[in-house]
Symmetry: C2
Subunit: 104 residues, 2 copies
């Protein structure tokens, strides 16, 4: 199975929306990181600090990107990008397994 | 924050009970592994193949161990052990963040 090698993993989970969104932080040797996350069905709004790439490994959802006026339907496997210092909304339809990468 | 170093992490999540229990597999250099998991409130029954140690990092729950006739209340931080080839039941009261270790 695809995996990250030679990484560090933070033991404690990141917990949002009463546990309906949770993730684990994976840190690479160069200090960059990704989070591996799960979203249960529901509607969520997230803010970004850095630019983010959301890589959907499993799940069906719709996304409203910053400044967008149209919900985009998304099914695995796909990626979408969110600018830094912005916010985006998600309607998650089925249990969604994602990888979020943070870019400068 | 406490973390595992020099490990591999499987990208895809392990998903149980319609996403109410999910975990990520962390593999050490010697081939042993742990899973870092989240359980949302609910009642669950799990079977074991290997002996398991459940380390509760956050959360409140009760456990009925194999062969037990009494539910034990558990709050973080605590550990409990489950024999191989058995099953145990959990009543999870609050979002629970756990580390499960598998022993031979």
């Amino acid at each position: 199975m695809p995996q990250y090698n030679n990484v560090s993993v933070v033991k404690k989970a990141n917990v949002y929306f009463e546990g309906n969104v949770t993730s684990r932080t994976v840190i690479f040797a160069d200090g960059t990181k990704v989070t591996l996350g799960i979203m249960l069905p529901g509607e969520y709004e997230f803010g970004t600090a850095q630019k983010e790439i959301m890589d959907i490994q499993a799940g069906e959802l719709s996304v409203l990107l910053p400044g967008g006026d149209e919900w985009l339907d998304i099914a695995e496997p796909t990626k979408f990008e969110v600018p830094a210092n912005s916010s985006f909304k998600l309607k998650v339809k089925t249990v969604t397994d994602y990888i979020c990468s943070y870019l400068d």
